[in-house]
């Protein structure tokens, strides 16, 4: 009895000590998770997530203070990439509410002040002073930074229209069980 307890205890201590030593000497360098997360974010510093910029958002994500769905312009793809990196399951249901959209400039209201063009972090707005501006749809990622700076409220964010080319079948409904 004593022999059994003793030998097990000794074995436990020895193996535990071995693990302790291994964890110290074979330790893997901590990944700079913040940097990796920041690399996944668009980097346009739009601030829609409520943080000043993407680096701050990455910091909050690393501390698990922000949900992976925090980035509206990044959409589902970014949320999934973040979830994978952080090893959490993404609840994408709330993300469905955010429809991918792009900025649209009402030509009759635009004064050509260039404020929006200077604000845009992806150079998606073209125009010269006193000339009507326009949005390059392929470049715009719908961060919405231009919207508040427009004095004449000429800028609105509009959902990207669904087309035959981007449409696909929804997931089959009804549980199979």
């Amino acid at each position: 009895m004593i022999l059994a307890v003793g030998s097990l205890a000794a074995m436990g201590t020895a193996l535990g000590a071995l693990l302790g030593i291994a964890s110290r000497y074979l330790a893997v360098e901590e990944n700079p998770i913040e940097l990796e997360l920041a690399a996944l974010l668009p980097g346009s510093q739009c601030g829609q997530c409520g943080y000043v910029g993407c680096a701050q958002a990455a910091k909050a994500l690393a501390a698990h203070e922000a949900p992976v769905t925090l980035c509206p312009p990044g959409g589902k793809a970014v949320a999934e990439a973040l979830a994978k990196k952080l090893g959490v399951t993404a609840d994408l249901s709330e993300h469905e509410e955010h429809v991918p959209s792009i900025a649209y400039i009402d030509e009759s209201l635009c004064l050509g002040c260039l404020r929006c063009a200077q604000e845009c972090s992806v150079d998606a707005i073209v125009g010269a002073a006193k000339q009507m501006h326009t949005v390059i749809a392929e470049a715009c990622h719908g961060c919405g930074k231009c919207e508040p700076v427009c004095n004449t409220m000429a800028i609105t964010l509009k959902p990207i229209p669904k087309t035959v080319a981007t449409w696909y079948w929804p997931k089959p409904g009804g549980s199979v069980h």
Binding site: W169, P172, G173, H177
Partner: protein
């Protein structure tokens, strides 16, 4: 006029259904069941009704407890088939409570705890059989010599009721060992296999089924007929039955050639025990076998090999049920590792080389 489609194609479907599959399997079992019912008389019939009835009632109960529509229990036929196969794997004169406990293990434990139809890892009927086999070895090995219906020595209707539902006191007086059990016992007494083989019914009788054994294991020919019917109907393919029986036969023949005194010959392995029932009806269970034909070959080989090992070296004379359960556990691994080669790809999943490449 608009009619937004909610479903993509195809817009034509084969006349297949779960119910059809289960019904055809049961239809394939009918000849053997009728023969065995005649062979073992009223007690066997009562046992059959008890087992199938318990399975269906328990299926309905389990679905009801989960808040699922329980009319499915009767419509998809899976519970009835489990009960049917379970009944065929029990000794025909087993008491009612053995059948009921086996049904509880089959339906409640093996099937519904794992998530119901399609989710179970282990073959429900075999779990049921093994649960009662290890719990009540006396009742489960009390095989008896055939007592055909209406024959002089056979129990009558009322007497049979007491055998199944009452206290069967005089079972010892009619019991007989199955061929596998007999040889195993003889071997343990030091009688060589080659000698005890001469005392069992001959090959023809074994195949026809006029011998002692479980309800459904005795009539190899009728089971084979049912199996061929299922193959003709494309419900099962040749892969599992052929590899199970082929492996068993090869192992038996090989070792018998080396030492006929210790090892039973291959043909004996084929016709004795539940080889045919197991190979055609138990091992081929869809849910618990691999999905690809390639995987099924490995699976069948494993069952054949394990059955031979258990029959030859282990404590139990019959090993088919254990072998099936062991290979059930491996089926997901087989499915994961052995898969068909995708069109245009190598076995490893790389694109095929174009001529002139590399």
């Amino acid at each position: 006029m608009t009619m937004l489609p909610e479903k993509s194609g195809p817009f034509t479907h084969a006349e297949t259904s779960v119910t059809r599959t289960m019904t055809l399997v049961m239809a394939a079992l009918v000849p053997a069941t009728l023969f065995d019912a005649w062979l073992f008389g009223w007690p066997a019939i009562f046992l059959f009704i008890t087992t199938v009835g318990s399975c269906m009632a328990l299926e309905a109960l389990c679905l009801n407890l989960q808040g699922k529509p329980f009319d499915r229990a009767l419509s998809d036929g899976s519970a009835a088939l489990t009960g049917w196969l379970l009944a065929m794997s029990l000794p025909p004169w087993a008491p009612w409570w053995v059948a009921f406990i086996a049904a509880v293990f089959a339906i409640c434990v093996a099937k519904h705890i794992f998530g119901g139809l399609g989710q179970n890892v282990f073959n429900p009927a075999m779990v049921g059989r093994i649960a009662v086999l290890v719990s009540f070895p006396v009742q489960l090995t009390a095989f008896l010599a055939p007592h055909p219906l209406f024959a002089a020595a056979s129990p009558g209707f009322m007497e049979s009721l007491t055998i199944t539902f009452g206290h069967a006191a005089s079972l010892d007086s009619v019991s007989a060992a199955s061929a596998l059990g007999f040889i195993k016992t003889e071997l343990s007494r030091g009688v060589p296999v080659s000698e005890s083989l001469t005392k069992i019914p001959d090959l023809m009788d074994m195949a026809m089924g006029a011998r002692a054994g479980s309800f459904g294991e005795t009539s190899a020919v009728l089971i084979l007929l049912g199996g061929l019917f299922l193959m003709a109907k494309k419900i099962i393919s040749w892969h599992i039955p052929v590899t199970v029986m082929g492996t068993l036969f090869l192992m038996g023949s090989l070792f018998n050639a080396v030492d006929p005194g210790r090892f039973e010959p291959g043909w004996f392995h084929l016709v004795s025990g539940a080889t045919f029932l197991g190979a055609f009806f138990i091992a081929t269970d869809y849910v618990t076998s691999p999905v690809s034909k390639e995987g099924q070959l490995v699976y069948g080989f494993g069952i054949g090999l394990l059955t031979w090992v258990i029959r030859t070296f282990a404590g139990y004379p019959e090993g088919m049920a254990f072998a099936v359960l062991l290979m059930n556990a491996l089926a997901p691994i087989i499915d994961h590792n052995i898969r068909p080669r995708a069109f245009g790809r190598t076995r490893k999943g790389e694109p095929l080389a174009v001529r002139g490449d590399q």
